[in-house]
């Protein structure tokens, strides 16, 4: 057994820091917070230019040969500094899906362009009437010669305002059981009939509703077989639920809290960490974070061996997001009254990062499969319990 993380990460940390120092502008963090758009175009261009986006890809599709460890270290470091790359996250999930199920033409069309930074792809699964029950999608795609005509609405199409494409789940056969009549399409956002409306969230992020009125795409925009969309989306979901690397959540709130608790002093001169009631919770959070890290490590190890960590990915996602909610709430309690202060309030601990984290943690147990759906997956596939619907 060997629980050592990729050694590359440690050895690349210094280089990654240097890259980030050299290229990242601090005001991007504020801009992401202000706009709610957790993707910065200039940063993306730089990541593409230096081959960081393309680090872990085969050369024939645009792979840069940059060390994947360095690339991970860069994203890790960006996360630590509060810079998200949400648009790239969804894009890379879709790229991995294209790699798995796409045609050679599709790989050549999408992969190199995306790795060059010229494509961003948003996820278009959820609809107003279908979230967890994503297979109940009502958006339709009807074949018309060599084209498909798409009609419907998608919800929570995050970062779509910056994307070149939406990865749309659409019904191509209404006359079969719901899972069997779906197909996936890569819909360009400059298509006629496509529209977008912003949705603002509790965590401060902006997401979108996207609308499809007789949007026409060529058959080559279809990823995977006709009516084979459920399987294709499953591949993408597995990538979503296991797309973890340490610090990719923007760093550890618990570590930040501990730093605060180690130095913040009570009137009697003791530190907050000296308060057993604070320390006990911090200790508990540290254990949860280690479990989260190990479950993520297992996903990466599985991926390294060439497996798709389906059940394990669900376990990680469920544990990590529920722990994050417990932690973000406990953290505010430990902070006391100052815990309520928002990022733009004077005197907010850690610049309001905890208050913001508390609001943002809410969505963790919803996006990419609710906790309930994940428990069902684990009950059925891991424990062999009977399907209960």
């Amino acid at each position: 057994m060997d629980f050592r993380e990729f050694d590359e990460l440690a050895s690349h940390r210094e280089a990654a820091c240097a890259w980030v120092e050299a290229h990242v502008r601090p005001e991007w963090v504020e801009e992401q917070r202000r706009s709610g758009t957790h993707q910065t175009a200039e940063l993306h261009t730089l990541l593409a230019r230096d081959g960081i986006l393309a680090a872990d890809w085969a050369p024939e599709y645009g792979g840069s040969g940059v060390d994947p460890g360095f690339a991970r270290a860069v994203f890790d470091e960006l996360g630590r500094r509060g810079l998200a790359c949400d648009g790239w996250s969804t894009t890379s999930m879709v790229l991995r899906t294209i790699e798995h199920v796409g045609t050679e033409e599709q790989k050549r069309e999408y992969l190199p362009a995306a790795l060059r930074g010229d494509r961003l792809i948003a996820l278009g699964y959820s609809e107003p009437d279908s979230g967890s029950d994503v297979a109940a999608a009502k958006t339709t795609a009807v074949r018309d010669g060599d084209e498909w005509v798409i009609n419907g609405q998608k919800m929570f199409t995050s970062t779509a305002q910056l994307c070149s494409h939406v990865f749309v789940l659409a019904r191509t056969d209404p006359n079969v059981p719901k899972h069997k009549g779906l197909s996936m399409f890569l819909v360009p956002t400059d298509s006629a009939g496509y529209d977008i409306q912003p949705i603002h969230t509790l965590g401060g992020q902006r997401t979108n509703a996207t609308f499809y009125a007789d949007v026409r795409v060529p058959d080559s925009a279809r990823l995977g077989g006709v009516d084979g969309g459920w399987g294709v989306m499953h591949v993408a979901l597995v990538h979503e639920r296991s797309a973890s690397s340490p610090g990719s959540d923007g760093g550890s709130l618990v570590r930040d809290l501990a730093a605060w608790a180690r130095t913040a002093r009570r009137p009697d001169g003791t530190t907050v960490l000296d308060d057993p009631l604070a320390a006990e919770r911090i200790g508990r959070m540290a254990v949860d974070e280690e479990v989260t890290r190990l479950l993520a490590l297992r996903n990466r190890w599985r991926a390294q061996k060439g497996d798709l960590p389906g059940v394990e990915g669900s376990m990680w996602k469920l544990f990590a997001t529920e722990a994050a909610q417990r932690h973000s709430s406990n953290i505010l309690d430990i902070l006391g009254p100052e815990g309520v202060l928002a990022p733009d309030a004077a005197g907010a601990p850690a610049g309001g990062r905890f208050e913001e984290g508390f609001r943002a943690a809410v969505v963790g147990t919803i996006y990419g499969g609710t906790s309930e759906i994940l428990r069902e997956i684990i009950a059925e596939r891991h424990l062999g319990l009977p399907r209960n619907r």
Binding site: S126, L277, S329, D333, G336, P337, I366
Partner: protein, 370 residues
Amino acid sequence: MDLDFTDDQTALRDTLRTFFGKESSTAAVRAAEPLGFDAALWRKVVDLGLAAIAVPEHLGGGGAGFVELAIAAECLGQSLAPVPLIEAAVANDLLASLSDAGSSSSGARDARLESLTARAVAGELLATLALRPATGDLARLVPAGAVADLVAVLRGDELLLLRQPDRGPATPGGAVHNLGALPLADCPVDTEHALVLARGPAAVRAYRRALSRWELLTGAALFGLGSKALGIGVDYVMQRKAFGVLIGTFQTIQHRLADNAIALDGARLLAYEAAWAQDENLPTADTSATMAFLFAAETAFKTASEVLHFHGGYGYTLEYDIQLYFRRAKAWSLVAGDSRAAYARLAHHVFGTAQAQAPAPAPAPAERAG
């Protein structure tokens, strides 16, 4: 034993539920953000006499008690009404009792206190209470501090009344943006111009009693908040479908809503028991108030969190109402500090030796590290 409201209390609840339901729609609640204060609604609340409902009639108040105030707080909580009724009621009660004691017992009437009390009770001035003793020359994060004319605060063993000439309902100031959209503000303690309300053990006692009353009323408000959140949840799961059925048929949703319903019934009983204990002047009144507050806080937050979760992605959007409840469930209780420490203090009050029961004001805040 009689766990029912009196007819008058029932009528009051019906009136206030209608009043707050109409005057404090969620649209109005949103419109009052981020300050969290609706001056027009506050005027109406004052005109109804709610902030002085528990002040004796001979001091210009309504002559009712804390059960009536708890009813008002519950209705406020249900509608998230952006008015500092609880703070004002507690501060008015504190001023009235000190003013009354001064004029009746010592005979040494303090005309300034009497005048300020009269104006607060009449609704001309908005009074509030700092929930933590002042540190240095600052009372940190005072509820309603951004809109109050008067702030009662403990400093050392002196209970002070601060006049905030630069602030008040008409001229809010110093508000800090916060999770609960509460009109919190730091209030400078200008000891030269402050009125000393009481000194020594009497000051600490009066302050602690006021804190207890704030706790019980906030407990009632959090119960109201939680019960409304549960109602929103029940409505939502009875209209939203997934997998071809109402999500309200799913066992895990049913069970979690049921747990919340029980806890809310418990929170309600605790809050009204605490209010009754205040009105009866029972020795258990303070521990009852703390229990009501802590249990309602946990229950309201758990209910609002779970109901938000049952909304799926919609729960995360600002467009749906449940986020308004979720944020306040956390913030309304947090302004009084870390609940864990409060539970530990409670154990000493309930079970501790006499020594351990010595007055111990709520802990002062940790200084920020940087």
